[in-house]
């Protein structure tokens, strides 16, 4: 779930260039402060009382794209089909292990499908296309490329070691080295990360743009379908639906890209028509921005969905192969989405799209321009697939974090398999409810992603990498102190940003610390991860002393 949107360079002044607004609201307008105008923009009359789910600092009113009966039928058939898979698989769920890690029987093709579709949701699809629309191919080289290094490291270095553990989740792996306290801290951070905020927000966008629905209605309908089949069939239903979703999202993007190459011309042709910076690999990003986003790209190394699927794989070879195949597919997917995003610039240049079209919606407008009826419906179903495959997987992980990792280890009487299964199924509902609730706290999907990634990395990265590569014996204080420092530090910092942060014109939020310096929210992890490392070192010293004293 790596978010790839709207960071980096400032707005371009050229009237033919797309207008840049770096923040994409989760629900179109600020739910707390109400709609706000872009600095310098005139207030516009609002003919539509319902705010659309749009990016930016003011809701932009663009009529819903009209889609035909054939396209609608394809989308409805897709949704019904997903529920049918859940019902079918539910008859094969015998216990918690079947439900949560598919009985450890997942093989390479199933793992490829579920990894690719789960990790790439609408946040990546829309975020990457938006960044490409605004900044060009730096969306690929600066934002996406660092992740490929992390995926390969996950495949080659982490997954084979991880598969040796007798565990079902990231927090449980932490407990094996550091004890129960580290597991609970890790579970809470994983729950925060796994709340499917971004996927739910993306569903609202599709419902709003194509069906004219209130964003909440679109989000609730899509999330409900994902919820039904995940509650029924667990990881196996999730993975089986992921195979269909994976194929749909990949094939439809490939088809749309062919249309784009034929309609807009190849990148070499486009380079002669558009601003030269569009085809500059790192655009106008600063070194510190590249560093921050390179750091965020470490997320896959502690990604709860990767861990769960590693434990669900039949053997280590299956997950390694799946990840390496996945990297190739992710690269192709990213590049073509970048191409479609740049196509948006060409449409603006030709005057076929207004320059103030919401950048977050650009992909939808480009494909609506390119694809004929029927293919458009399949593409929409592919977009829904992309969102639902993320929502279902992370809702399942979030529920598992609450039940299996946070509740089960601390209760006196160990819950049985049937209780675990029932409780996890039950907790999927509040997990999705929590995601809906949290989505109202953040002004934008980018803010939500930064928060989630910072909490996950700060809590788990140092202790987990130390456990996998350095520790020869358990070190409870090191892991617990490190995880707790990362969790409390990251949550505390974000609370400071929320309560006392100051928003800059470019959308960044800064907090003036009691020591006088200013801290930018995006850079929080550059402080919390080292703090977690320091706590780990202190815990190691304490553990050594305790062992020596004993």
């Amino acid at each position: 779930m790596p978010f790839r949107g709207g960071v980096g360079a400032g707005a371009r002044g050229d009237a033919l260039q797309p207008t840049r607004d770096r923040r994409f609201r989760v629900w179109g307008e600020d739910p707390i402060r109400g709609a706000t105008a872009r600095p310098g923009a005139e207030a516009e009359p609002d003919p539509d009382p319902k705010p659309r789910f749009v990016p930016g600092r003011r809701p932009v009113r663009i009529p819903p794209v009209q889609i035909g009966a054939l396209d609608t039928a394809i989308v409805v058939a897709y949704l019904v089909g997903m529920v049918a898979v859940g019902v079918w698989v539910s008859r094969r769920i015998g216990g918690f292990d079947d439900f949560f890690v598919a009985g450890g029987r997942m093989t390479t093709p199933l793992l490829v499908c579920t990894l690719v579709s789960t990790y790439y949701g609408l946040d990546v699809t829309f975020g990457t296309s938006e960044t490409a629309y605004l900044e060009g191919i730096s969306a690929f080289f600066a934002y996406s490329a660092p992740f490929y290094v992390a995926y390969v490291a996950m495949a080659v270095l982490v997954a084979p070691r991880l598969h040796r553990y007798s565990a079902r989740s990231l927090p449980e792996t932490m407990e094996l080295h550091y004890g129960r306290g580290a597991r609970v801290a890790s579970a809470l951070s994983s729950f925060v990360y796994s709340a499917p905020i971004l996927g739910i927000g993306g569903m609202g966008l599709i419902g709003s743009v194509f069906f004219g629905l209130d964003p909440w209605v679109g989000a609730v309908v899509g999330a409900s379908v994902a919820l039904i089949y995940t509650v029924l069939g667990g990881l196996l239903a999730d993975a089986l639906t992921d195979t269909i979703q994976f194929t749909m999202m990949c094939v439809t993007v490939a088809i749309a890209a062919v249309y784009a190459l034929l309609e807009f011309g190849t990148p070499d042709v486009l380079a002669t028509k558009l601003d030269p910076t569009v085809f500059t690999p790192y655009g106008d990003l600063t070194t510190s921005q590249i560093l921050v986003y390179g750091s965020v790209a470490l997320t896959p190394l502690v990604e709860p969905a990767f861990y769960q699927r590693t434990f669900a794989s039949k053997d280590a070879r299956q997950i390694v192969r799946a990840l390496l195949i996945g990297v190739v597919l992710w690269m192709a997917y990213d590049w073509l989405i970048v191409l479609l995003g740049i196509g948006g610039q060409e449409l603006v240049r030709r005057g076929e799209l207004p320059a103030d079209v919401p950048s977050w919606e650009i992909l939808l407008h480009v494909v609506e321009h390119l694809l004929p009826p029927g293919l458009l419906g399949i593409f929409l179903a592919g977009c829904l697939a992309s969102a639902m495959s993320t929502i279902d997987s992370y809702a399942l992980i979030g529920a598992g974090n609450l039940v299996y990792d946070a509740w089960a280890p601390v209760v006196k009487r160990k819950p049985g398999d049937a209780t675990l299964l029932r409780a996890t199924r039950l907790m999927i509902v509040p997990t999705i409810g929590f995601a809906l609730l949290v989505s109202t706290v953040f002004d934008s999907l980018r803010d939500a992603w930064i928060f989630m990634a910072t909490v996950l990395l700060s809590t788990n990265f140092v202790p987990m990498m130390a456990a996998l590569f350095f520790l020869e014996r358990p070190s409870p204080r090191a892991g617990t102190w490190s995880a707790a420092t990362g969790l409390v530090g990251s949550l505390g910092l974000f609370l400071c940003f929320l309560l006392a942060g100051r928003e800059l014109d470019d959308g960044d939020v800064v907090w003036t610390t009691p020591f006088g310096g200013e801290l930018v929210r995006e850079e929080a992890l550059l402080f919390t991860v080292p703090a977690s490392a320091l706590a780990f070192a202190a815990g190691r010293v304490a553990d050594r002393r305790a062992r020596a004293a004993a």
Binding site: G103, G104, P109, C113, A254, A316, M331, L336
Partner: protein, 43 residues
Amino acid sequence: MTVLSWIAVVVLGLGSSAVFVWFLRDVRRIMSSDGDDRDDPAV
């Protein structure tokens, strides 16, 4: 970049379809497996 784009189209379109066909050949085994042949836990 043009060549890269066409390669990406082929990889994504045909590659994902090939993985799906591979999955269809594998699915019967997955659904009937009892999942008891995982690596022995070493930790």
